[in-house]
């Protein structure tokens, strides 16, 4: 009676996919599950091709997968021997009892049966171990390969892809979907082989011994197999639903705690508790429902199993009394049933594993097969910077998501080494897009951009990105020390280089005041920096790279005017070596530029120096009047 409660959490498995969500990444779980729920099961044909693809991956480890499958056959063979041997032992004992004597022959026979049984048990254990270990190992190897592939793909996919994809969804694919694919070999494929062998050969053995009794003994198999499959699929569906409801709950809690000052300011605690209760009740009722589904089915499965056993006992008992079969045969039938019970219950898990692998695989391979929009020819030459001249030639651009809605049209300008170009315009005018086209975060849809006459699409991407550095609007801090963050683009950098860049970015003094100076950990789990400090750090980061073209994409907005002024004068030393492009909405950030382009609705509508544009009296002038106190023009940095 190897009956095990299905509800038991398996604390033995530290890496089942689900625990990732519920335990370790609270905030991530919110996003992960939400997207999971929207995935419909792939069509049969597609599902099959995905499963084939995973299977092929598995067989790329021929030794390990061979060992797993071979051991599966052997383990099930030994498993099947055990009821036979037990039955034989019972018969031998019965014989001894009936004959009333214990001859040497009978004793030997009994001893042999015992030894065989011991041998079968030991071998069953060993081969089960081999089967489990190697099928898991194959899964882990697949997991490792997919993880790397996923990581690489995510790193290489262009901005346009990342713009359209919620980061939480990508994490789902990289963690949960990968898990579903990884588990396929052990929980779906090998288990299927194991179950087919066990049930198939077992059924043959039983039926060939006694058809009626065999049918009775197997009668629970279809019912339990069907119930467990239906239940698992239902539990899976409700699990996804539950995750979604829990995600809402998580969000309510997270926003409440993150926005606690707003909550307190409005004395909205009652309102927040109501929100919490509603989300909580929603999740709880589904959790109860899931308990109901699970329990109703496990109880029914157990009952059907025992009912079949009762019938076998009844009919078999009558047959024993009638002398048709021996007690040993009956015992072996009963043992066989107990052996079959667990695997049959697992049919549902197997069905679930197939379903999971095919939906997860669809998403994962969808990501891995994604075309990279901005890519280069491996044979392309490296960019050679000689004069350091950047040219926009009739550049037009539309985002791939909205090809009919051009963001930039007819942009033409030239910038020579040592020059500073300012780009200004109302929000949404396309000024940041200009910055993003130069390092090919996006490709132009019309016209071309050249550096020293080389079309940037014809040179190696790596060489381009090393020549062009954008200080981005939202500077991402990695959770590591300040020095590692500054040296992000040049991780071999020496300390004095880092200090120098940091000094130029007016960050040095602040850093020295921190408890561990440059060794202070910043980022998500470290010391939090203010917006201005973050921007200064990312300027330092860019300065480390000594680029030929340096672009500030509204990256000084949070830095006060005076500090910005100092950064500017510190950089003036290097400015002669490069083209500097400043995109900003604060005029004081760019009015010193050699030339200023005023962009509106994707076109350059005014250009010239600060004085020229003021004199022109157009849009630039209007913006200037708006920003700068008309009565004291003197403050212009």
């Amino acid at each position: 009676m190897r009956y095990k409660r299905a509800s038991r959490p398996s604390a033995c498995a530290p890496h089942t996919g689900m625990t990732i969500v519920t335990a370790s990444s609270p905030s991530g779980a919110a996003q992960l599950s939400a997207s999971l729920a929207h995935v419909k099961a792939a069509g049969w044909g597609k599902g099959l091709s995905i499963l084939t693809r995973i299977t092929v991956m598995a067989f790329r480890h021929p030794w390990q997968s061979g060992a797993a499958i071979g051991a599966t056959f052997i383990a099930s063979a030994f498993q099947l021997m055990i009821p036979e041997l037990l039955g034989r032992a019972v018969d031998q004992a019965q014989g001894i009892m009936a004959s009333g004597s214990l001859g040497v022959e009978a004793q030997d026979a009994l001893l042999w049966t015992a030894l065989l049984l011991l041998g079968a048990s030991v071998l069953r254990g060993l081969f089960t171990m081999v089967q489990n270990y190697y099928s898991e190992a194959v899964g882990h190897h697949i997991g490792y390969e997919l993880r790397l592939a996923c990581y690489e793909k995510i790193q290489r996919l262009s901005f346009s892809f990342h713009d359209s994809m919620h980061s939480g969804d990508l994490i789902t694919v990289g963690l949960l979907d990968l898990e579903g694919v990884r588990m396929y070999f052990s929980t779906a494929l090998v288990r299927m082989i194991f179950l087919s062998v066990l049930i198939g050969i077992g059924a043959y053995l039983l039926l060939s011994t006694d058809v009626v009794l065999g049918l009775l003994a197997l009668s629970f198999v279809p019912f339990v197999g069907w119930r467990s499959s239906v239940t698992q699929l239902r539990l899976r569906a409700t699990w996804l639903d539950l995750q979604e409801r829990l995600a809402v709950l998580t969000r309510v809690m997270e926003e409440n705690l993150g926005g606690i000052r707003v909550v307190r300011a409005f004395s909205a605690q009652k309102h927040e508790l109501e929100k919490f209760d509603q989300a909580s009740r929603n999740a709880l009722s589904l959790a109860h429902q899931r308990v109901g589904i699970r329990v109703a089915n496990t109880s029914a499965m157990t009952l059907s199993f025992f009912a079949a056993m009762g019938l076998v006992l009844w009919v078999g008992g009558a047959k024993v009394t009638a002398g048709e079969i021996t007690v040993g045969t009956l015992a072996s039938f009963l043992t066989f049933m107990t052996i079959l019970q667990m695997p049959v219950r697992q049919l549902g898990l197997m069905v679930n594993a197939f379903a999971r692998a095919s939906t997860c695989g669809a998403r994962l391979f969808g990501l891995l097969d994604m075309e990279i929009a901005v890519k280069d020819d491996p044979k392309a030459p490296a960019l050679t910077v000689t004069e350091g001249t950047l040219r926009f030639e009739n550049v037009g651009f539309a985002y791939p998501a909205a090809p009919d809605n051009p963001v930039l049209q007819d942009i033409c300008f030239e910038a020579r080494r040592g020059e500073t170009i300012g780009i200004v315009g109302p929000p949404g005018s396309g000024k940041s897009t200009i910055a993003h086209l130069i390092p090919r975060f996006y490709d132009t849809t019309e016209g071309r951009i050249t550096i020293d006459g080389q079309d940037i699409r014809d040179v190696r991407l790596q060489s381009l990105r090393r020549a062009v550095v954008v200080v981005q609007q939202d500077s991402f801090l990695f959770t590591t020390t300040i020095e590692n963050n500054i040296a992000y683009g040049d991780p071999w950098a020496r300390e004095n280089q880092i200090a120098r860049a940091s000094e130029s970015a007016q960050l040095h003094n602040y850093v020295l005041g921190l408890p561990s100076s440059y060794g202070t950990v910043v980022g998500e789990r470290g010391v939090s920096l203010s917006g201005g400090q973050r921007q200064r750090l990312s300027i330092a980061r860019a300065l480390m790279l000594k680029p030929a073209v340096m672009i500030f994409d509204d990256s000084t907005a949070a830095i006060d005017a005076a500090t910005e002024q100092r950064i500017r004068s510190a950089m003036r030393r290097y400015a002669s070596d490069r083209v500097t492009l400043i995109v900003a909405h604060r005029l004081s950030s760019l009015m010193h530029a050699d030339r200023i382009l005023f962009v509106e609705d994707g076109r350059i509508v005014e250009h010239g120096s600060h004085q020229e544009l003021l004199a022109l009296g157009g849009r630039y002038r209007a913006l200037y009047d708006l920003q700068i106190r008309p009565d004291d023009e003197t403050l212009a940095g």
Partner: protein
């Protein structure tokens, strides 16, 4: 210039060395995962949450016991059937009785297992949600100083991870009762059926027990390592996703890939090791099972002779043997579950025990909506740390309907004043009066209803624009919301959104610009319709177009209200009825723009520096202006 660029800048060197300053997904803060196995205080605290369900728990325990008894009965019935119903010349009706008994037993078994699992499953869920609610509602009341110094992520991991491990503990502890009784039952029944054979068979049990005692710490360490390296690799992946723009912009893909490979490989090795350790128990258990069965056959077979043992007993033994290692396996696992639960329980009670510093007095009055709307500080001394007051003996009064601008360098105590009006913190000395009442004599809720606050960083909730503007005023109508949005000039951009007022805001309003979020938070304050408005002007640079809208909205917002504005922009400051200048926690001057310009103190100096905003003034310049010696 071309030659100046080191092309090997970020790559891994040929000799396999990794760049010294490159890391991916590092720095994780680890918490104690395992505590004591049993901690009386924590169990008592958890019991408080279980107590409301004690009837269900008692029933569940009874059901577990009945269920276990049936598990023990079934082999006995089979034994009876074999020994009495199937022996040559045996009683035919014995088989029928046995079958009837079997039928009854499995029905009881069905009912008991159904009851047990339903009760345990549901109670564990209920308790889980109760604990979470208790924590959440407690966090609504604890002082802001606690919230200020506690990371949201940490609290979330209490509310989720720790609460979940509590649930696991509750589920398994009731089921453990079943395991223990099953184990005792099997031992008892075997000894009863045949003492000698029972003793012999049971000798395998301690072996397994000892093996597991040695195995468990090793295995657990390995499982933990696998879990840990998995989190590390997952963290690195998440970092790559969130920071992808920086990664590509700095061209770090190649080196990151190598570093990630290192982590993924460690993870692979750890998992393979953990899998080996997990699987190694299988042949051990199977061998012990085999030995026990062989013993029963050899010894039992010999004892059948001379009627010392029935064949049925032998069969029953064989059935029991296949079961009796299960409870040991789950009981040893329960040990880890308990340790984990105690560690989590400690953290949960830590949260529940955070003192609530600011509470309503038992006789606190509700601040009536008819109060005059005045705000008064009387000799207020206050500091986040008692030894370092942030406000030193500050007194001022804001008359009903007046707009006062609070001005001063960073750290002068402006924000603290704002928090004290709402009684986010308690004054050390003196008093803060709102509508003529000491805030400590009022209920916090009524105080909040009469004070609307706009924070520097607009915080929006997930939901529609409409829900955000209405926020907790669920009774506000759509017209009121639209009216408020129109008043602050947010209506136009809201209508340009795909679903107008029903447009969903992204996480924290991510699909809106900072200025737009600010306008929505203005509208929210307007709908709250409070007598007093406290506003911390945004310092972040907002584009000039939105800026104009905000200035206009501000005027609208302050209409007919008492206003206290922490002002950064000169335009706002000049518009105020009165300006209060704070420096180092002291009120140094107050008056309107013209008066302050005339007296030639700090304000006029700062103003004459000609910066568009006081925040643009560099610290050293500010210090020069502030020091009395500078003239």
């Amino acid at each position: 210039m071309a030659e100046e660029m080191e092309t090997e800048r970020a790559d891994v060197r040929d000799d396999g060395r990794r760049p010294p300053r490159a890391v991916v997904g590092s720095h994780r803060i680890e918490e104690e995962i395992f505590g004591k196995v049993f901690d009386r205080n924590i169990v008592a605290r958890i019991w408080d949450f279980v107590r409301p369900y004690r009837r269900q728990v008692t029933l569940a325990v009874v059901a577990v016991l009945v269920f276990t008894a049936m598990q023990l009965m079934i082999p006995l019935i089979i034994r009876y059937a074999i020994d009495h119903g199937m022996q040559p010349g045996g009683d035919r009706s014995a088989l029928l009785y046995a079958i009837i008994a079997f039928g009854v037993a499995i029905l009881i078994n069905f009912a008991a297992s159904y009851a047990q699992e339903t009760l345990v499953g549901n109670v564990a869920e209920d308790v889980l949600f109760d604990i979470r609610r208790a924590m959440f509602s407690h966090l609504q009341r604890v002082s802001l100083s606690f919230m200020d110094k506690t990371e949201v992520g940490r609290l979330m991991s209490r509310l989720q991870g720790d609460v979940n491990s509590m649930q696991e503990f509750l589920e398994t502890s009731v089921l453990s009762v079943g395991d223990i009784t099953l184990l005792i039952g099997i031992v008892g029944v075997m000894l009863y059926l045949d003492f000698y054979l029972g003793l012999l068979t049971l000798s395998a049990l301690p072996v397994l027990f000892v093996v597991r005692i040695f195995w468990l710490p090793v295995a657990r360490k390995s499982f933990m390592a696998a879990h840990e390296s998995n989190s590390v690799a997952s963290g690195a992946l998440a970092e790559a996703i969130h920071g992808v723009r920086a990664v590509q912009g700095m061209d770090r893909q190649t080196v990151n890939f190598t570093l990630f490979d290192d982590k993924a490989r460690t993870n692979l090795i750890n998992h393979l090791k953990a899998a080996r350790l997990a699987q190694v128990m299988i042949p051990i258990v199977d061998t012990l099972t085999g030995i026990a069965m062989a013993l029963v056959i050899v010894v039992g077979g010999a004892r059948v002779l001379g009627q010392a043992l029935d064949v049925g007993v032998m069969v029953a033994f064989l059935f029991y043997i296949q079961r009796f290692f299960d409870p040991i396996r789950s009981l040893t696992l329960q040990y880890s579950v308990m340790q984990r639960a105690m560690a989590s329980g400690q953290r949960l009670t830590d949260v529940l025990d955070v003192r609530v510093d600011i509470q309503d007095k038992p006789d606190a009055k509700a601040l009536s909506a008819e109060m005059d709307g005045s705000v008064e500080f009387q000799n207020v001394v206050f500091g986040y740390n008692r030894k370092h007051p942030v406000l030193k003996n500050v007194s001022f009064r804001v008359n009903p309907g007046e707009t006062v601008a609070l001005v001063g360098p960073t750290g002068s105590g402006k924000s603290s004043c704002m928090s004290l009006i709402h009684r986010f913190y308690e004054v050390q000395q003196g008093a803060v009066l709102v509508g003529g009442h000491d805030v400590r004599d009022l209920t916090q809720e009524s105080l909040g209803q009469q004070i609307a606050m706009v924070l520097q960083e607009p915080f929006l909730f997930t939901g529609t624009v409409f829900e955000n503007i209405r926020y907790h005023k669920t009774e506000a109508t759509r017209d009121q919301v639209i009216e408020a949005a129109k008043a602050v000039g947010a209506h136009d951009f809201i209508m340009r959104m795909p679903d107008g007022y029903d447009s969903q805001l992204g996480q924290r309003g991510g699909n809106l610009s900072l200025g737009q979020r600010q306008l929505i938070s203005f509208a929210r304050a307007l709908v709250a319709d409070a007598k007093i408005l406290v506003l911390d002007e945004a310092t972040a640079n907002i584009d000039s177009y939105t800026e104009m809208l905000i200035q206009k909205a501000l005027v609208k917002l302050l209409e007919g209200r008492t206003g206290l504005v922490i002002a950064h922009r000169l335009a706002t400051i000049r518009e105020a009825d009165r300006i209060i200048v704070l420096q180092n926690g002291e009120l140094i001057e107050s008056g309107n723009h013209a008066e302050l310009m005339a007296n030639g103190k700090l304000y006029s100096k700062l103003y004459n520096l000609n910066y568009a905003s006081f925040d643009d003034i560099p610290e050293d310049v500010m210090e020069d202006a502030a020091s009395p010696s500078a003239t």
